[in-house]
Symmetry: C2
Subunit: 223 residues, 2 copies
């Protein structure tokens, strides 16, 4: 009975990973992180989606850890969201929290160890990674190695979306007959429900659907 733990942000990519994992593993559960994100709706979406497919979701509360490490637009409302212009590296968006996925993977790995789970699944994607270095394949492989050695435990990090386009990701959901589940997922950077349809995240999502020839079941304010 192989069991997988899916890192679930409440977004389109992790929802797709969840559906992918349900087809590959005998048992599945999800883990979400409450890090004081400015859009609490993400956590509600993760819970709702887990419930829809009948899996257990655990929310790990990490407090204001990211703001203790430094300012960023994901948690600090005084920082504007911009596609580039990060204080240290102008090519990175202001939403960049250095090492954020390493942090999530480390906690997920430790949590998995405690439950006897050997397979993590995360929706990180190199194709449209917006400059986030911790979404790249070589980073994930290095982190996998650190977890294996650091816990002396056999653990694998699956990244089924790593080299896919957004359109490919839409097709996975279509092929599993689960497109409709994406109406519960959250993508909008503005935190809006219905989604704004105009922010970079909404635009990327809508473009993926357009390219795949499928209709996004999510409700949009303008579209």
């Amino acid at each position: 009975m192989k069991k997988a733990l899916i890192l679930h942000s409440g977004g389109q990519d992790s929802t797709t990973c969840l559906v992918w994992a349900l087809s590959k593993f005998a048992e599945v559960e999800t883990i979400s992180f409450d890090y004081g994100q400015r859009h609490r709706i993400e956590l509600e979406c993760a819970e709702k989606i887990a419930k829809e497919v009948g899996v257990k979701n655990t929310v790990i509360k990490v407090g204001d850890i990211f703001s203790q490490m430094g300012k960023n637009a994901l948690t600090d409302t005084s920082v504007a969201i911009a596609e580039s212009g990060h204080e240290k590296n102008k090519s990175l968006p202001t939403t960049f929290v250095p090492g954020r996925n390493l942090f999530f993977l480390t906690i997920a790995g430790s949590f998995a160890y405690g439950r006897g789970i050997h397979d993590l699944v995360t929706g990180v994607c190199q194709t449209d990674y917006s400059g986030y270095p911790d979404c790249r394949d070589d980073t994930v492989r290095a982190m996998e190695s650190a977890l294996r050695k650091g816990m002396d435990y056999d653990i694998s990090i699956h990244t089924p979306l790593m080299f896919l386009t957004k359109a490919d990701t839409v097709r996975i959901m279509r092929d599993h007959g689960k497109l409709d589940l994406l109406k519960y997922s959250h993508t909008c950077y503005e935190g809006a429900r219905p989604a704004c349809g105009k922010c970079p995240a909404c635009v990327l999502r809508l473009r993926g659907f357009a390219e795949s020839g499928e209709k996004d079941p999510l409700e949009y304010a303008t579209h």
Copy 2:
């Protein structure tokens, strides 16, 4: 002006790393983790030691993150401290929190990034690592690689004590004329001040001093 960030637990090894770093780097600061450890005295010791040598210490509050990941003797008083008998792996002590050092290193790395620091120093030691796999050199090197790739940032993790004995560690302090600083460090698993002198941690510390031919400046209840 090279600056280093020392992970400081308040213990003997990290105090030695701090003294080592002060001799190697132009600027030094320390970082400690408040994870609800059962012995709060460790954090007070880290603060006191930083103050004694005139460096800035930052306490990162990570809340009850380890107990959210699973039971362990470091934070959960219902779990007895034992040198072996960990639930999943009987060869590991009950104080084992899987991936704890990976977690600390990830946060320290992110914090260092925010402050433009490229050098981390940690007192992990393979020689007497008590079965903790995240104290081994290969783990630290894997984590260093994950941090470099994941933050796209040049960062090194220095582990000056990795292959030293406890006696060697004592000699570093002696050679720097800083033995006396160790009276502020905390080692005792029982959290006692004066230290109990009987728990495995005290015994290991005292043996190191005995082998080095130096006297431990720490106050002990029995000795």
